[in-house]
Amino acid sequence: MIACVAVVGHQNNPLYLQSFTGADDALKLHHIVHCSLDVIDERVNNPKRSVITLNESYLGLLYPTESYKVYGYLSNTKVKFLVVTTDLDVKDTDIRSFFRRFHAAYVDAVSNPFHVPGKKIISRIFAVRVSGIVKAFAPGTYG
């Protein structure tokens, strides 16, 4: 079950945060996302060559804690995509394909000429697409 998805810009400014749990814990999710940003910076600046290749976009599991896991993905333009999930077993391929679709939706939202780069994404269509991707992911064990 995906708890929330987030997009963070290259100056660590939040561009989009959407929670799918139904409970009113937006602040807690903000906090989780913020902590994960530190992990991403660490991974990018000190690459462990044996574990992760230098120029891989998908960063994998960042931050497993007691009830959730956070996966990260870094684009070429230093935009970070984060997924907080409460599932215990999610396949790597599922998450990778989720990030691919998420990135595609983000690129379409940013190509809007009325979107100001650096400001929050306010496109309703983007929100609808992201909800669709999340719904398609939840029951899926296929990629």
Binding site: H10, T53, L54, N55, E56, S57, L74, S75, N76, T77, K78, V79, H103, A104, Y106, V107, V110, S111, P113, P117
Partner: protein
């Protein structure tokens, strides 16, 4: 678009028109680079980014690659295009050379036109994390060269 900005909106202030056109190019480059680098793994250094601009990015935009790339290894790159697609059909008025050195209207229009690809390159590079300044030189149409100076 360029002629609208050059003649109608800022007819008496060509510098403002140039600035505006370059800013439009900046936003376009910014957004395009997001789309074109989606599938790629991340870049390691500046040279790889410039090579990407010369090959894949130019290929997507102008259906050809940059013909010549020069660098001084100190942050300056010169991208040369032997047949810049957007300038191939520009007419050059042979009677525009005046003795007092004033520019013919055709070269002014060309200059305004060239601010747009300069903006595209600048937007693309700064979205990839490389702040820079781009200038274009078109003394010999349709041969065109863009000089990219990376701000350290």
């Amino acid at each position: 678009m360029v002629s609208a900005y050059g003649r109608r909106f800022y007819a008496t202030k060509p510098e403002l028109a140039a600035h505006r056109i370059e800013a439009i190019g900046y936003q376009v480059g910014h957004q395009l680079i997001e789309r074109y680098t989606m599938e790629r793994p991340r870049f390691n250094d500046h040279l790889e980014v410039i090579k990407f601009i010369c090959k894949d990015f130019w290929q997507e935009l102008f259906k050809k690659q940059i013909d010549n790339l020069k660098t001084n290894h100190k942050g300056t790159f010169v991208l040369q295009d032997n047949n810049f697609r957007w300038l191939t059909r520009i007419s050059i008025d042979p009677s525009s050379d005046n003795n007092d050195g004033s520019q013919g209207s055709s070269s002014e229009a060309t200059n305004l036109l060239l601010y747009f690809p300069c903006g595209i390159i600048r937007g693309a590079l700064s979205n990839l994390g490389i702040p820079c300044a781009v200038s274009a030189d078109s003394s010999n149409l349709p041969f065109c060269s863009f000089m990219v100076r990376i701000k350290a």
